[in-house]
């Protein structure tokens, strides 16, 4: 709200540029590490300490005590909590996550298989979101208060209100049931080449992207409008730059900071959305794996999947923080 104030308050830099950047990076990296460890601790406590005896849960209430005890020992659940936590942390670092209770296969392998679908979906959705949102946001800001602006903004207002899974169902209704252009779900894998895979990810990605793009477009629009009101825009115009040149050369870079912030925050929603959307389209991704594992009481898989998702969110927001420093020359160590 008081963005203007920041411009006044910045002190001249005290260090040389390279030293400043590395100090900044070091501090951010330490925070990142602490956050990741904190997340892992919470996840471990909730999923490992709270449920009591995982072996009992796994085998059901009417399993014989001996069998339960045997499984407890086999899974290493008889060891003290702290040891089990450290063991898991070590596993996270070296990539050995143990075996799934239900499948018997290594968890790392299971997750890797599923990520082959989830990550392309997330990237595709993010790309679509960014392209749609920036186009709509910049267009509406440049046509402020004209018909196109009002029209697109009304559309985004509706877009924000749509639950993404319902929008996905509507897309299925239109493209799979009525028009029969695309299949209603499923994923053929990448073995038959890239196109069949992408084709089946198209509807899910659109479903994810449209809703997110509606939010991001509004953010972009108001960010661009805010910057357009700044004095330096008038200065640039007084130099003889056309409106278009001012928009692309002077306004956008300034407007990208709030947009980037929201994109970072949206990434968490995007991953959450991916879990939901995978269930709508019966896609064999991380989301499906989690739900199958919950049904199977396969807590070790759930724990690692949740850690992976939380870790991805944390890392993306770390990257966004570092990007600020690259984009905005004003951001200095003492402000972060």
């Amino acid at each position: 709200m008081h963005r203007g104030l920041k411009l006044w308050n910045v002190r001249p830099p005290k260090f040389g540029a390279p030293a400043r950047m590395s100090v900044f990076l070091l501090r951010r990296c330490l925070t990142l590490l602490a956050t990741l460890v904190g997340a892992s601790l919470i996840i471990f406590l909730v999923l490992d300490a709270l449920p009591g005896n995982a072996a009992q849960m796994l085998m059901g209430a009417d399993a014989s005590p001996d069998a339960v005890r045997a499984l407890t020992v086999k899974l290493g659940l008889d060891q003290p909590l702290a040891l089990r936590y450290l063991h898991w942390l070590r596993g996270l670092v070296v990539g050995d996550l143990g075996n799934s209770y239900a499948y018997g296969t290594p968890v790392a392998e299971l997750i890797r298989e599923r990520l082959a679908m989830t990550i392309p979906l997330a990237i595709l959705a993010m790309l679509l979101t960014t392209v749609l949102a920036l186009a709509a946001g910049i267009y509406t800001a440049a046509h402020h208060n004209r018909l196109g602006d009002v029209g697109v903004m009304s559309l985004t207002q509706i877009g924000i209100a749509l639950p993404n899974f319902w929008f996905a169902i509507l897309l299925i209704l239109l493209f799979a049931v009525k028009l029969q252009w695309l299949s209603a779900g499923g994923f053929p894998g990448w073995e038959d080449g890239i196109w069949p895979g992408l084709r089946s990810l198209l509807l899910p990605a659109v479903a994810l992207a449209v809703v997110q793009a509606a939010i991001l477009a509004r953010v972009t629009r108001s960010a661009v409008l805010d910057v357009l009101r700044e004095d330096f825009v008038r200065t640039a115009r007084a130099k003889g730059l056309t409106k278009r040149e001012v928009l692309w050369q002077h306004v956008l870079r300034n407007a990208m900071i709030p947009v980037l912030t929201v994109m970072g925050l949206q990434f968490a929603n995007l991953l959450a959305g991916t879990i939901v959307i995978e269930n709508v389209f019966y896609l064999p991704g991380l989301g499906r794996l989690i739900f199958q594992s919950i049904a199977n009481r396969d807590l070790i898989v759930v724990r690692n999947c949740v850690m992976l998702l939380a870790g991805m969110v944390i890392i993306v927001n770390f990257v966004v923080d570092v990007l600020y420093a690259v984009i905005d020359p004003r951001i200095k160590v003492h402000e972060l």
Binding site: G4, P12, E230, R234, T235, A238, K239, G240, N254
Partner: protein
């Protein structure tokens, strides 16, 4: 005042309608003045009198919703209604402007060197290296210490006075015919104001530019320009050579403005004179003389129509029907 053929900039009957939050308003009406090559003109008035809007009109930078009537001629070429693309070739090239807020007039994301070189690249078609060489020379000329080393620095690394020097370098980059300085020192510390004004005066003399200096400060106007116009309520109430106006103030408003200025060396306990009432809102300017409600010489005829311009000396004109009475009063107003 008559506009000779030799006038570089000739403004006649300028009128500007703006859309304000309170509906359309005639922000400027019947403003005429002429500026010869190398001449300096001051525009003085309180905030909201239309002086900045007039300046923006000269640059063609009014909001899209503004309606401009009358004529603005640069070297005989009509600027009112000029195509945007043509205007872009004039701005920063033949007419340029220095703004009030050096803190916000520079783009925080671009290096100052780039911002100074920008008009050169845009208008002179010189190479990037040549533009950089000229930009460094300009920065040196405006007194920025060590310009070659600080070429790639960002605006936040400079003080207010230094930033104003940078905006001056930017405005002068293409050696414009007309320089408009809109309250160039208002936002600066008193100690720096004089330095900046002297710098501008030196550069104007050196390059033989014409300058329009806008200020609310009679002292600044008295010391820096050859001719002046006084604006009130969107119109010119008095105009003439600075010497003539200061020795014989013909408009009650000019007299009031003069009496209201704070002075050093005034006897302790002397009350600062004020002009009763407040500046009228643009949206409800009266049909008659805009100063009528605050004027102590007002008669009924003042309120019926905008008073005509009356010559009271060589090139000294006043828009008042009570000038004869006003002139008999003590102009310095010690006893007012």
């Amino acid at each position: 005042m008559t506009a000779g053929d030799q006038a570089l900039l000739d403004v006649s009957n300028l009128g500007i309608r703006l859309d304000t939050s309170r509906g359309p308003a005639q922000a400027v009406r019947e403003v005429s003045f002429a500026l010869r090559r190398g001449e300096t003109l001051g525009i003085v008035g309180e905030s909201g009198c239309g002086k900045s809007i007039t300046a923006l009109a000269l640059l063609g930078l009014l909001p899209d919703s503004a309606v401009v009537s009358g004529n603005i001629r640069l070297d005989g070429r009509e600027l009112v209604g000029l195509a945007e693309a043509d205007y872009c070739t004039l701005r920063g090239n033949r007419i340029s402007m220095i703004f009030q807020e050096p803190m916000t007039a520079l783009n925080p994301m671009h290096t100052i060197g780039h911002q100074v070189a920008e008009p050169l690249l845009r208008h002179t078609g010189c190479s990037a290296t040549e533009a950089k060489r000229q930009a460094i020379a300009l920065l040196d000329r405006v007194g920025l210490p060590d310009p070659a080393r600080r070429y790639d620095a960002y605006p936040h690394q400079f003080s207010g006075g230094q930033r104003q020097r940078i905006t001056i370098a930017m405005a002068l980059a293409c050696k414009p015919d007309v320089l408009i300085a809109d309250e160039p020192t208002t936002a600066l510390d008193v100690t720096i104001q004089r330095q900046i004004l002297d710098l501008i005066a030196d550069l104007v003399a050196e390059q033989g530019m014409a300058m329009i200096l806008i200020s609310h400060d009679l002292g600044v106007i008295a010391e820096n320009v050859q001719r002046m116009i006084v604006m009130y309520g969107g119109t010119v109430v008095e105009s003439g050579t600075t010497d003539a106006v200061f020795s014989r103030m013909g408009h009650p408003y000019t007299q009031g403005l003069f009496r209201a200025r704070p002075r050093l060396g005034a006897r302790k306990g002397t009350r600062l004179a004020t002009i009763a009432g407040t500046v009228p809102e643009l949206a409800d300017l009266p049909a008659g003389c805009p100063f009528a409600d605050r004027c102590n010489l007002v008669v009924d005829a003042c309120r019926t129509a905008l008073p005509p311009v009356a010559e009271i000396g060589a090139g000294h004109a006043v828009r008042c029907i009570r000038t004869d009475v006003a002139l008999t009063r003590d102009p310095v107003g010690v006893i007012a």
